[in-house]
């Protein structure tokens, strides 16, 4: 049973069809002691149903602590947005092995419902090659950043 209505599905399908790159949602989860992990998985499952350019890679937070550490994940559910740095239209060769994934450094902590869902859709489109919506002046300023910056934006679903 899809969580999105037919009109929203059509709109998202059209938007995702323009993506130049395949996006991977690295989903950190655990089986026990996480009330929202299952619901988050249900939300994420909407995406591959709408586009073959969106892949969900599930990571067990308990069994794979190295991967969690690599992406700065210290609790679940969490999502890291990654992308394949090559055109999504190219069919992977059988002998090529797993695709090389680039990190967008875009993260989500908690269930992406409501406003966060909209943010997640925007993040997928951005990583998928839509191009930045920042001004040229902002991009120039950001190109000068040479130290680690970690931003946490607190929001609520409504």
């Amino acid at each position: 049973m899809p969580l999105l209505g037919p009109a929203d599905q059509d709109r998202l399908r059209a938007e995702f069809s323009l993506m130049a790159r395949r996006v991977h949602l690295l989903f950190f989860t655990q089986a026990l002691g996480c009330e929202t992990c299952l619901l988050t998985r249900q939300i994420l499952d909407e995406f591959p149903a709408l586009s073959d350019r969106i892949v969900i890679d599930e990571v067990n937070f308990v069994l794979d602590p190295d991967r969690a550490r690599q992406y700065g994940v210290d609790r679940v559910p969490a999502i890291a947005v990654l992308y394949e740095d090559e055109p999504s239209t190219r069919q992977p060769l059988p002998e090529a092995g797993p695709p090389v994934l680039e990190d967008s450094r875009i993260r989500f902590l908690g269930m992406p419902a409501g406003y966060e869902f909209v943010s997640l859709v925007q993040a997928i489109l951005l990583a998928g090659g839509r191009g930045s919506e920042l001004s040229a002046a902002s991009l120039e300023r950001l190109a000068l950043v040479d130290r680690p910056v970690v931003m946490q934006v607190f929001t609520t679903p409504t």
Partner: protein, 64 residues
């Protein structure tokens, strides 16, 4: 939120987390989140509410 994510995508030095505040009351308490959106940068810069792009980036990078 999208603005912080855009910043992360634009700079290899920036990571941006969207945090669902009601799901993590301990984090909301630790960062004194009384309204949303609230942005915390490197644990020491706080930005309350939504700002225009220029002002947001300026404050987030500690140039404001």
């Amino acid at each position: 939120m999208t603005l912080a994510h855009e910043m992360a995508f634009a700079s290899p030095h920036i990571t941006a987390w969207a945090v669902e505040a009601t799901e993590y009351p301990d984090l909301a308490r630790r960062y004194r989140v009384t309204g949303v959106p609230k942005t915390v940068v490197n644990e020491n810069i706080e930005i309350l509410g939504s700002l225009p792009e220029d002002a947001f980036i300026e404050q987030a990078l500690g140039e404001g």
